[in-house]
């Protein structure tokens, strides 16, 4: 059973803000370091949050990232305000991307974002609709 979680990060992510893109992940990484979280978990978390953060920057109208921690797990929530993912199964398929050519030229949109998130997360839950945007919840185990 999970103990009560404490919020350690809440940051807004703006659409197409490549200047700040990655900063929430960087902030979270520094916070986890200070909390003494093992470096392998910090690394895993950085990969997950960077992918989710850049998804918000590239694909959404803007959103926010929240991180909560308890003794046994870390919870990352990434919520955006739309436009939603049309086909979730496809979004989890390696190589599938809806990114524009311009975005691909920057080295994004290889269709590995959510695939990487799934690989490193211990649990992942994605809900997406046109009206309500996309809501991702990832759990990373801290115990053992």
């Amino acid at each position: 059973m999970s103990l009560q979680k404490q919020q350690i990060l809440n940051k807004e992510i703006e659409s197409f803000d490549f200047q700040s893109g990655g900063e929430a992940s960087s902030d979270l990484k520094n916070i986890l370091r200070k909390l003494g979280v093992p470096s392998a978990i910090v690394r895993k978390t950085a990969i997950i949050t960077y992918e989710l953060e850049m998804n918000v920057v590239i694909h959404s109208l803007g959103g926010e990232i929240t991180a909560l921690i308890s003794e046994d797990e870390l919870e990352i929530r990434v919520d955006d305000s739309g436009p939603g993912i049309e086909d979730l199964d496809k979004a989890f398929t390696a190589g599938f991307s809806t990114a524009s050519d311009e975005i691909r030229e920057m080295g994004f949109g290889a269709g590995m974002g959510l695939v990487n998130v799934k690989r490193y997360a211990d649990q992942i839950d994605v809900k997406s609709s046109k009206d309500d945007g996309t809501h991702v919840k990832v759990i990373i185990n801290l115990a053992n």
Partner: protein, 109 residues
């Protein structure tokens, strides 16, 4: 080997050098940011053709020793500013990734 020693030995251009004393441990070659995030290791050099600002975010997150832009590609100005603020080394060279990697191998990097 430090980034400064690497710059001198391989005649690399320093575009942003806020932390040239950083130690180097291996290298990663790639232009897809997701791959770099997932595969590059701490203190690696990163050989790429991507010179935009988000490259700095990736380098910072993975704790790379330096980014090396190959084949005379240029960094965007906001990437250079961000690198200086965040302590990320940005280097460049005329050489191709393969040729540079070969010369790194010969020097046991």
């Amino acid at each position: 080997m430090t980034v400064k020693e690497l710059v001198d030995q391989f005649d690399l251009e320093v575009v942003a050098g806020p932390d040239l004393k950083k130690e180097i441990d291996g290298a990663y070659i790639g232009d897809l940011l997701s791959n770099v995030m997932a595969r590059a290791e701490k203190d690696n050099l990163w050989l790429t053709v991507q010179g935009h600002q988000n490259v700095v975010a990736v380098a910072l997150l993975v704790e790379l020793s330096a980014v090396i832009l190959v084949e005379n590609f240029d960094y965007e100005e906001n990437a250079v500013q961000r690198a200086c603020q965040k302590g990320v080394n940005l280097l460049k060279t005329k050489k191709k990734s393969y040729d540079l990697a070969c010369s790194f191998c010969e020097s046991n990097i």
